[in-house]
């Protein structure tokens, strides 16, 4: 792409530069980082001193900029760097950020906004009201196209190993759209109810609310939407695609296998699942105890899979994978998990009464376990399975349950809360002990323990060491061994490669085995993990199998491309304050002597779901709930859009990046951000603009019409305490403008302006000031030392009344406006990576010959227009742009003739 001039920024200075150059016949590229051109001027109420309507006069300029035949505008794009190349040109690298909306297809109808489930502060209304994640910047936006705001992926969604859009279903639940929330989870897995109970909820660990009062109960919200769906009797809301005529066999019906079967069936494949056990569901159906995950819930989840045509055959063990291919299955997925319990390898292990944990849990879940009434049980192991076994043994009536593990309590692999719950249910923990022998003659009579001194070696490898001299004996009748699980894959050899522990060897990205049509995933590959991790692997396997069967390259690096995880620090900074919302307490009813397998965790009530989902901070802004995608009549929304890099060659550059407003919370004595009725000048301009959010001037604290309004001038300007000695030039005039508009809008209001002095140099400016004073604005010479908030939201200003002997006074107001000043836009620092674009002492772009050649920067061919070089009002910016573009045009001509 070749242009004559690159204009960076499309505020009034940038638009004016582009239009003048375009009118001269130069090809211009404008790069704007927001989704609309217009900068700050379009957001203002009126301009001073003429009181012309700012939007009426800037909208035509915005439209002209976009439609000019010589001007190309890239909105929602950023200049990453500009480099000088050899022949006098500049090479600009521009990042086109994805709008996630096809600009050509979007008509600006705003249906996506109506459908969007997320509200965040509206930066174009100075954060006074909210906007949606899917939004059109403001009514006069040019181009008037929607954009989906996705600064990052929400931590809850990003951290989910199953790829479930946690933020999405939370935001749908917040909107009361439980069925849609359920369907959103179905996009990833059919196991909604099971994960709502048995998931280890990494989403909650990542929840940004966790750094405030505590995370959202995200897992329980999922459980609520699942329960609501299953209780409603509403038929499944998703359908499989047209049958493709290809069949896939899935061996194993655990979370990985079932999820893969679901995904493949949705794509239109004929899927059959083979399960060796008498009950489907793998760990869900067999080993996770009913008090955590009732069998009916697993059955309901499996019902989803069957509803879209997946056949599940239980009691069918597959040993010969090749024969499946012969039966017409064009691909086979092995997801047999880790069904073998590791053994202790100590004397006495063969005694009656010693049993592997998985066998015990399975019998207990299927209601076939032997009564343990009156028995003393020892469970060996420190992981989650051991805890499940111990707590199940309590429920089967064991008089005493002792859990023995090598690790010290803090090192146990089981989740801390699970250990706590086991202890509350009367399990006795013996941590830091190994097993020397199981004692007994005909059956188990006791167990001999030896002190474990270390579980891991220096390299953190499992390598326990013991002090054989420290011993303890526990009397017991039953020993349940829960010291690990492994795959059962001997039968698959030599068809597939196996590791020493029996795990299958597959490509970690594509999950394809040595045999091209055989894939494997889940615990049979990874060793014992979490069910949610297995679900994620099942999804990946289904995607890869589909690519394989369609004869497409796997392109594994393109699988599930995500926007990077959002930084939680940025999330909390988005709002000045957050209301305090305590998390719900645990809904678990734990008793010391549990006697049955009733589910111990209570469901959330609808009110609790509403409250909890309302605590969501919408970290990634867009929740990926897909509502906009469904609502868009033009199918314009594509959430998988990626950033694009564009390189442009230009002969000259105009930097018109404008200014920033002083962040008023840096003057803490004024209380901005803490006191709701202290606002900034920009906020007042929004309250007065024709597109004002409340259609009148109201104070934010309680929506009352303010009677007494104070202005604090020079907030962040002429103030060494914030490092800015400069006058911002515009604050006096915009405040005087607002004074007049307020008196028009609220004829009864009293307006008082506290000043150092009033600076009104400019044609008609002083007359404008005199006019405001004549209309009744009260100007008081005196700096504000402090602002105090009263209980009714009113504010007391403390000041020194210079014109009355410097007396210290206080005055009460309903609303305080801080006339915030101008700050440099530091984005210009990075434009030329080599630092060749010089900045002045105040970090504005330096004009090296300010007196004689305004607009000229330290780099020949690069010019600065508008407030990027220092505070300017609108007419000054336009004049300055004229000066800059005249030089830019001369430079382009010089480059053209090779001078």
């Amino acid at each position: 792409m070749d242009y004559d001039v690159l204009v960076v920024g499309s505020g009034i200075g940038g638009m004016e530069s582009a239009l003048k150059l375009g009118d001269m016949g130069y090809k211009v590229l404008v790069v704007e980082k927001e989704a609309s051109v217009g900068g700050k001027m379009i957001l203002l109420s009126k301009v001073f001193p003429t009181l012309d309507c700012a939007s009426c006069i800037s909208t035509p300029k915005m439209a002209a900029t976009i439609h000019h035949p010589n001007i190309t505008v890239m909105t929602y794009a950023e200049v990453e760097r500009i480099r000088r190349d050899g022949d006098g040109h500049f090479e600009a690298t521009i990042r086109q950020n994805p709008r996630f909306v096809d600009e050509a297809a979007c008509t600006g109808c705003q249906l996506c906004e109506l459908a969007c489930t997320v509200a965040v502060p509206d930066q174009f209304n100075a954060d006074m009201v909210s906007r949606r994640a899917a939004y059109i910047p403001f009514p006069q936006a040019v181009p008037k196209k929607a954009v989906i705001d996705r600064p990052g992926t929400s931590p809850c969604t990003f951290d989910c190993p199953a790829g479930i859009k946690a933020h999405g279903y939370v935001s749908l639940a917040r909107s009361g759209e439980y069925e849609k929330a359920f369907n959103l989870v179905l996009e990833s897995t059919p196991l909604v109810g099971s994960l709502g109970r048995a998931c280890f909820a990494p989403c909650e660990d990542g929840c940004s609310r966790g750094s405030l009062e505590g995370p959202l109960p995200i897992r329980l919200i999922k459980r609520f939407v699942a329960d609501t769906h299953y209780q409603s009797g509403v038929p499944l809301g998703v359908e499989a695609a047209e049958p493709r005529g290809q069949r896939v066999a899935v061996v194993g019906s655990g979370p990985a296998g079932i999820t893969a079967a679901w995904q493949l069936a949705l794509l239109g494949y004929g899927v059959k699942v083979f399960e060796a056990a008498p009950v489907a569901g793998g760990a869900l159906g067999l080993t996770i105890p009913s008090y955590r995950l009732p069998g009916e819930v697993v059955a309901q989840d499996l019902g989803n899979v069957e509803a879209i045509g997946v056949e599940i055959e239980v009691g069918h063990r597959v040993d010969d994978l090749e024969s499946l291919h012969d039966e017409g299955f064009e691909a086979v997925l092995v997801a047999t998990g880790t069904p073998r319990s590791a053994s202790l390898g100590v004397p006495g292990e063969e005694l009656a009464g010693v049993m592997p944990s998985l066998q015990f849990l399975q019998a207990s879940k299927l209601g076939q376990a032997a009564e343990l009434a009156g028995k003393r049980v020892v469970v060996v192991g420190g992981g989650n399975v051991a805890i499940d076994a111990a707590r199940s043994a309590r429920r089967l009536g064991a008089t005493a349950v002792d859990e023995v593990c090598l690790e010290a309590r803090a090192e146990m692999p089981a989740f801390d809360w699970e250990v706590d719950e086991a202890l509350e249910e009367g399990v006795t923990l013996h941590d830091g002990w190994g097993i020397a022998a199981v004692l007994g003659t005909h059956g188990v009579e006791g167990i001999d323990l030896k002190r474990c001194t270390a579980v891991f070696d220096e390299a953190r490898r499992f390598s326990p060491t013991y002090d054989e001299t420290v011993r303890q004996t526990l009397a017991c009748d039953v020993v349940i061994v829960a010291i690990g699980m492994g795959p059962d894959t001997a039968a698959f050899s030599p068809t597939l490669d196996r590791r020493g522990n029996g795990a299958l060897v597959v490509d970690p990205q594509t999950l394809q085995s040595r045999v091209p049509h055989i894939f494997a995933c889940g615990d049979v590959v990874d060793g014992a993990t979490m069910i949610t991790t297995a679900v994620g692997q099942g999804r990946r396997a289904a995607y890869m199998i589909d690519r394989y069967l369609q004869g497409q390259p796997f392109a594994a690096d393109q699988y599930e491309l995500r926007v990077p995880r959002v930084d939680p620090v940025d999330v909390l900074r988005r709002q000045k304050s957050h209301s305090h919302k305590d998390p719900l307490g645990s809904g678990k009813a734990l008793v010391a002597e549990p006697s049955d397998f009733h589910e111990i965790e209570a469901p959330l009530s609808e009110a609790q779901v509403h409250y909890s989902a309302g605590r969501c901070l919408d970290c990634g802004v867009c929740s990926e709930c897909q509502e906009c995608v469904a609502a868009c009549p033009a199918d314009a929304i594509h959430l998988d859009m990626q950033p694009q890099q564009v390189v442009a060659s230009v002969a000259s550059v105009v930097v018109s990046t404008g200014f920033k407003l002083f962040p008023a919370d840096l003057k803490p004595q004024y209380g901005f951000g803490r006191f709701k009725n202290v606002i900034t000048g920009m906020q007042m301009d929004r309250l007065l603009a024709p597109t004002r959010p409340f259609n009148t001037v109201l104070r934010p604290g309680d929506g009352r019409v303010p009677d007494r309004i104070a202005y604090v001038m020079c907030t962040g300007s002429r103030d060494q305490t914030v490092g800015n000695p400069l006058c911002s030039r515009i604050c006096c005039m915009y405040s005087i403008k607002q004074n007049q508009l307020i008196m028009g809008a609220l004829p009864l209001a009293d307006v008082t302006v506290f000043t150092i002095d009033v600076r009104t140099a400019g044609k008609g400016y002083d007359e404008f000031y005199v006019q405001a004073a004549a209309m009744g604005t009260n100007f008081i010479k005196g700096r504000i030392a402090e602002i105090r908030e009263l209980e009714n939201g009113n504010l007391v200003l403390r000041y020194e009344d210079i014109e009355h002997q410097g007396a210290l006074r206080e005055a009460e107001f309903d609303l305080v406006v801080l006339a915030v000043g101008v700050q440099p836009n530091l984005d210009t620092k990075g434009l030329f990576g080599d630092g060749s674009l010089q900045h002045d002492a105040y970090y504005y772009v330096e004009e090296i010959d300010e007196d004689m050649n305004p607009g000229q920067t330290s780099i020949p061919g690069v010019y600065v227009a508008g407030a990027a070089s220092g505070a300017k009002d609108i007419p000054e910016s336009i004049l300055h742009a004229g000066a800059a573009v005249a030089q830019a045009a001369a430079h382009v001509e010089a480059v053209r003739v090779g001078a």
Binding site: S55, A63, P139, A689, T691
Partner: protein, 147 residues
């Protein structure tokens, strides 16, 4: 607001409520009209809007066609002198306006059923005022084709 409500009540009380077609422009007058709605301002609900890039692209035949299809009044919400495309947009639009009025006269349709005014991107209030006035002016003319 009382005045506005009274105006709306007077329109409601009338048997004949003229159908008004508004031609707006994407970037300038349409946001202004949109703002009237989003600010909850009241104007006759029989007005409907079609947005175009530029009023100078209106074919006079469209206007005739609208009246033949039962529209009682056509309002062109133009950009005035602020068109983003053409410096002579206002003159062109004026010529289109004249041509259309002549065509209406030929067909015996009252030329005052066609009206044009500049509406800026935030001119919600003036748009509402125009709509109310136009509605009042059209009422005595009765439905199109029955003059």
């Amino acid at each position: 607001m009382a005045v506005a409500t009274a105006a709306v009540e007077s329109v409601k009380a009338r048997a004949f409520r003229p159908k008004i077609l508004v031609f707006s422009t994407n970037n300038i007058s349409d946001p202004g009209i949109d703002l009237a709605g989003s600010s909850h301002m009241h104007y006759p609900p029989e007005a409907m809007t079609i947005a175009l890039p530029c009023t100078s692209g209106i074919d006079p035949e469209w206007i005739v066609h609208a009246f033949e299809r039962g529209i009682d009044g056509v309002f062109i919400a133009s950009d005035g002198e602020e068109c983003a495309y053409l410096t002579d947009c206002a003159e062109r639009s004026a010529r289109i306006f004249d041509t259309a009025q002549a065509a209406l006269r030929e067909r015996g349709i009252a030329p005052e059923r066609l009206k044009m005014a500049a509406i800026c991107s935030v001119c919600a209030e003036s748009f509402v005022k125009y709509m109310r006035e136009f509605d009042e002016e059209l009422a005595p003319l009765g439905p199109v084709g029955q003059e």
